[in-house]
Symmetry: C2
Subunit: 289 residues, 2 copies
């Protein structure tokens, strides 16, 4: 990170704000320029000294930054890519789905530029504004980088150092594998949670449903408090992996429903025990860390 | 509770153990007799002074207790009901589904005895053994009682006092309404969580799925750590309400999948926003409490 003096942050929400705050807390001399459609977020960033400069356009960032981190939802990343054309520094992004970024680059420029390292920090919260910025949001959290063959090794090295500085653990994997694993661990659970809350709220006895929401529904409804625009983008841009997985899931759900309907206790119990064993195996792994 | 000197606990797990511990902490003179198929649980109860006596059969409880609380999974409640025939004290249970208990009573005796107040504390944890017994497990938690018309008002009064002593908030509603609301807030979410964990674990890259389980899946997998036998009983005994709800849910899930597949951004976003609004409305209610 010695060669990086000015970092550009596109989108000053929870992630962008936490990157800015985390860098400021760890690199006293760092200069941060942010761009955001919402002028109010930039004002908050300036007032709380998360950023040094509020840019009026992305040109200010491409002109003055050594590294740019794009921290907006996936479909907005695609929209701001043309403005980053020709930028000579390092670029990374935090999009929850990686294939669309590569595809957009191919459409725009034939291929992803060698200085762009697609990334995805596995961190977040229900809060999604700059007000919730947290200098330690990424500490001990995983950040997945999905460089292509064409990506410059020095770019990967630099972006890895960037995240290491924020005390995150960097992991490298392929674009398709990332999108598939995230569909499993994050996108499908969110789709289920949003749908459940919507269905139950639609029954009209909403207040009562929430009143008795011990365990179970409480966790689901917390998940459904996430930013709708971000999840819209994720569901749409990762629809290939997500819908395939959803069909598998709905098949399994119907099978379980059939076991319940038929009163097949043995098969039902063995399914529930299998799930519990998987979960227990995981808990054991965690306790060894 | 002045007239109650000896309480019988059937099933010394998390709930039974917590009731015993909670009573001991609040009523110094109380005597507690427990019965459990697992002798080991009773030994733990004796050694940690949660109970005064480990019974060899339910007869010991019906002979010597003023109030019996049945703290086993729903299908086991049904199995031990014959042994409680003729008991003259107060009876309550903690079954997660209420209709089967009423139905079993009708089959056995023509109707639920007037001294039996069906109940359900909305409390629990992933832990489900007596080792996790907590004297304050029910403090500020809701307990739903579902007395019938035939239930003696003095029985309701006594069971209400029993739970109030443990500092729970008692609510009264009908049997069918209870089973329907719980299908929504608890049974369906658990069914989804168990199925998701089972599907993902079945893909073979289990370790990796858990590795990246920030948000979303982590909450789901925690839910799936609950006791399989207990959830088997709940799913089977509440299948009417549960499967009806599941069909509605799967319909909504398919609709959302269609919106994603068609790329209908406007309709998808409005669905996600509707769910978030329901959740935000709930958070606001909670913050006012």
């Amino acid at each position: 990170m010695n060669s990086i003096r000015t970092v550009g942050v596109v989108g000053l929400g929870l992630i962008g704000g936490s990157i800015a705050k985390g860098l400021k807390a760890r690199l006293p001399g760092i200069r941060i320029i942010a761009y955001d459609n919402a002028r109010e977020s930039l004002e908050v960033g300036l007032a709380s000294e998360l950023i040094d400069e509020a840019a009026d356009s992305l040109d200010v960032l491409t002109d003055g930054c050594d590294l740019i981190c794009v921290c907006v939802p996936v479909q907005q990343i695609e929209k701001c890519m043309p403005a980053l054309e020709g930028f000579k520094g390092w670029v990374t992004d935090v999009g929850s789905v990686k294939a669309p970024i590569v595809k957009t680059a191919e459409r725009l420029w034939g291929e992803l530029p060698a200085n762009w390292v697609p990334g995805h920090p596995i961190a977040g919260s229900e809060q999604h504004s700059v007000h919730a910025a947290d200098a330690d949001l990424f500490v001990n959290h995983k950040v997945i980088l999905t460089p292509l063959e064409i990506t410059a090794p020095t770019a990967v090295k630099m972006v890895r150092e960037f995240w290491n500085l924020l005390e995150a653990e960097v992991i490298v994997m392929g674009v398709a594998h990332h999108d598939d694993i995230l569909a499993q661990t994050s996108h499908l659970p969110h789709l289920l949670a949003y749908t459940l809350v919507d269905v139950l709220a639609g029954f009209g006895d909403e207040r009562e449903v929430f009143d008795y929401a011990a365990g179970g529904f409480r966790d689901f409804s917390r998940i459904a408090a996430s930013d709708p625009q971000m999840w819209h983008d994720i569901f749409i841009t990762n629809r290939g992996a997500l819908l395939k997985l959803l069909q598998t899931f709905m098949g399994a759900l119907q099978e379980t429903a059939d076991l319940i309907e038929e009163g097949d206790s043995e098969a039902l119990l063995s399914r529930l025990e299998r799930a519990k064993q998987a979960r227990d195996y995981f808990s054991e792994l965690q306790s060894k860390l």
